[in-house]
């Protein structure tokens, strides 16, 4: 009799053990949550790699404070050198090797698109890709939460300010001939049409263009009094420099990708002064309690030689909504629960603008677009940024 009871008990224990293993979510244990991220640490896109290191500092800070509901974050970051084949390899290796609960941020459109289907098919959450592409939300994906405001919205906000506050009449755009640039063009066109205006010139810039004289000629011929620079930082600086040499000095405006003013001033040798850009996050010298807290964590955990720049703390901002979602889940952390809690996020404010999500609706891309607002800043002497507006949302 005793033997049978013992056997029954043993079977029960084994079953319960197995059941608890089966119900535990992938990447979550009693004491840890595994989160992954890719980012270029080598190669031409390496400056953007600061995003992934910023996220690392945020997680270190959270772990120091005791983690999220008793679970520490185990952060797995790898270098993909902005090569989609490597991104896919790294994501698969970590996902299938150790099991990742969800993916945070990740720099670049091409690397992200190479793994999007893989993650979505496996129903693995991914929050805050570090690229303002429409691909993330069109069509919206249940497990993919975008944070970065759309370039389309940014163009609308900049144009509105140019017309209403600066009284500009002849607006032109120099745009990178890709997704990024074209989103800028369409946003500008829509906003100008609202005021009965048109772009006086649309000048495409190829990634490989080095001589900017033809571009400046076109802009000058159109007698533009304000030019939007929807290009990469290197090209933006080159256009302004060539413009100066050719005595063409309109008001320049650019995007949040060129809003790291100390960096822009350094590479433009001071020519960036006076340029107006959008900003999706608080300024580096902001004294808000949250920014000060993060800066303290940066000083404590960041490696030697790291700079407190926009890319670095953007890595914190992109992941704030994810941390909020994890906190809301409590101890009972599953992917489905996480998605449900993310959908409940309204009026969330970290160091970025306001973030809202909504229950999944395949026909509403904005249910997965967290941040919509931006504010405008102008570059001053020494690369300091002056806020021109409060947070603005396109109408």
């Amino acid at each position: 009799m005793k033997k049978t009871t013992f056997l029954l008990l043993a079977v029960l224990v084994v079953f319960l053990g197995l059941a608890s293993i089966c119900t535990a979510e992938e990447g979550v244990t009693d004491t840890t949550i595994r989160i992954g991220q890719w980012g270029p640490q080598t190669g031409p896109a390496a400056p953007w790699g600061a995003v992934a290191r910023g996220t690392g500092v945020l997680f270190q800070m959270i772990n120091e404070e005791g983690g999220i509901h008793g679970r520490k974050i185990e952060y797995h970051m790898f270098d993909d050198a902005y090569n989609p084949a490597k991104t896919k390899a790294g994501v698969k290796e970590l996902q299938e090797g150790i099991g990742i609960f969800g993916w945070a941020s990740g720099v670049g459109t091409a690397p992200g698109l190479a793994v999007k289907d893989y993650l979505m098919q496996r129903k693995i959450p991914w929050v805050g890709p570090a690229a303002g592409s429409l691909h993330w939300i069109s069509p919206p994906q249940k497990y993919l939460f975008a944070v970065y405001p759309l370039y389309y919205s940014e163009a609308k906000i900049l144009c509105k300010y140019a017309i209403e506050k600066l009284g500009k009449k002849r607006i032109a755009i120099a745009y990178q001939n890709d997704d990024y640039g074209k989103n800028g063009v369409s946003g500008a066109e829509v906003e100008l049409a609202k005021h009965g205006m048109k772009l006086v010139a649309k000048v495409p810039v190829e990634l490989t263009d080095t001589d900017m004289k033809p571009h400046i000629m076109q802009l000058r011929k159109a007698r533009a009094d304000l030019v939007l620079l929807w290009v990469a930082p290197g090209h933006a600086v080159r256009i302004i420099g060539t413009g100066r040499a050719m005595r063409f000095t309109p008001q320049w405006m650019s995007t949040s990708t060129c809003s790291d003013f100390p960096l822009m001033m350094a590479i433009s040798k001071g020519l960036w002064r006076g340029v107006i850009t959008g900003s999706f996050a608080q300024l580096p010298d902001s004294t808000s309690p949250l920014m000060l807290k993060y800066k303290k964590a940066f000083e404590k955990y960041a490696a030697k030689g790291e700079r407190w720049g926009v890319f670095f703390y953007a890595g914190i901002g992109f992941v704030e909504p994810m941390v909020e979602g994890l906190k809301r889940c409590g101890r009972n952390l599953t992917r489905e629960r996480f998605v449900k809690e993310m959908e409940g996020i309204r009026n969330f404010k970290g160091i970025f603008g306001r973030i809202d999500y909504a229950p999944f609706d395949p026909n509403d891309p904005y249910c997965r677009q967290g941040q919509k607002e931006l504010f405008l800043i102008q570059c001053e002497k020494g690369g300091k940024a002056k806020s021109l507006t409060g947070w603005m949302e396109p109408d």
Partner: protein, 349 residues
């Protein structure tokens, strides 16, 4: 041991029964591979197989015919873009689109072969370099090819077989790779291959012997481009998303490095070179997690480099491996293999 007694013995696909036996063992291993290793390694094998196809194609041109190319990323791009657009715009089935795209690449390869009739060495490398750079520029500016925004690969179905996992794709890819490797082996062992080699060794002598230089040089470019185009079409489905930036100059150089590191003028070398460099490309990322060595490298980096310096160690090691192979064995991995074989055959002398 290796003495051949007649012509037919020389052109045989498998030199001996032993070679055939090991070939069959390899095929059996490849067949069971996805069941023995986890999915990530299947993806790695797919990546390697694609590079093997490119390396074989490029070796036919560089190693066997003695013509250099720094523009193979261009053929690779044509294969990738051609396959996807033929599937999405002309609604052709995958295999038809893949072969047509590869034929398209071969036609361009033939055209590129024409200037090669008059150019040699560094001049030819500049011409092919220009070709590779132009292709991505042109594709990037044409809206039909998705411009700089890239293209998504459609769902992959062959008859009623829906390939949606790495394992399904692996079987397709390995079948194609094995068949094309055998085709290449047959090619180099018979008339065409002999003509290629004759051109490489002394083109004037070859011409006096009746080898049609124009035909065989352009043919070498076309065949090489066909292999690369086919590999490109398959690569598009490994990534499932392509954009012009992927097919950079660096890609062409890595392709050439695979052939040189593996061993010029050897199919075994192409396979070994492609596998080694693809493996290093994807796996060196983990160098910091190697016990002892990883910790030591990290400490070294922290005291002498900046934080991003540590990631560059993988590139330094990648480079040093290539340099040391070339330094100690100019024939590449194939040379090491020959030396090892010779050592054991003559052991203990």
């Amino acid at each position: 041991m290796d003495m051949k007694r007649d012509y037919y013995e020389d052109v045989r696909l498998f030199g001996s029964k032993v070679v055939l036996f090991w070939f069959l063992v390899l095929i059996a291993f490849l067949g069971f591979f996805p069941f023995l290793f986890r999915n990530y390694y299947v993806y790695l094998a797919n990546y390697m197989a694609i590079n093997v196809l490119v390396a074989i194609g490029l070796n036919l041109l560089v190693g066997y015919t003695g013509q250099i190319s720094l523009g193979h990323a261009g053929f690779f791009a044509i294969g990738a873009y051609g396959t996807i657009t033929l599937m999405t715009s002309a609604h052709l089935p995958f295999l038809v689109a893949l072969v047509l795209a590869a034929i398209g690449a071969a036609l361009l390869g033939f055209l590129l072969g024409l200037p090669a009739l008059r150019l040699e060495g560094p001049y030819l490398s500049i011409a092919t370099l220009g070709f590779g750079l132009t292709i991505t520029q042109v594709i990037g500016r044409i809206g039909f090819f998705g411009g700089r925004q890239g293209l998504h690969a459609p769902e992959l179905t062959i008859f009623s077989w829906h390939l949606d996992s790495d394992r399904d794709f692996y079987y397709l890819l390995i079948t194609i790779t094995v068949i094309l490797t055998l085709v290449a082996r047959n090619l180099v062992k018979t008339k065409v291959g002999r003509a290629f080699i004759a051109i490489r060794d002394a083109d004037i002598a070859a011409e006096t012997l009746g080898v049609n230089i124009m035909l065989y040089k352009t043919l070498a470019f076309a065949v090489s481009a066909f292999y690369t185009g086919l590999a490109g079409g398959l690569y598009a489905f490994v990534l499932r998303f392509i954009e012009p930036q992927i097919f950079s100059l660096l890609m062409s150089i890595i392709f050439l490095a695979m052939v040189v590191v593996g061993g010029l003028g050897s199919l075994f070398g192409s396979i070994a070179g492609a596998c080694l460099l693809s493996w290093l490309d994807l796996e060196l990322r983990n160098i910091l997690s190697i016990p002892y060595l990883g910790g030591w490298l990290e400490a070294l980096s922290k005291s002498y480099f900046s934080i991003t310096g540590v990631s560059n160690i993988q590139l330094i090691i990648y480079g040093s491996i290539m340099v040391s192979i070339m330094l100690f064995e100019p024939l590449g991995i194939y040379g090491i293999w020959i030396r090892t074989k010779l050592y054991w055959k003559t052991w203990p002398f």
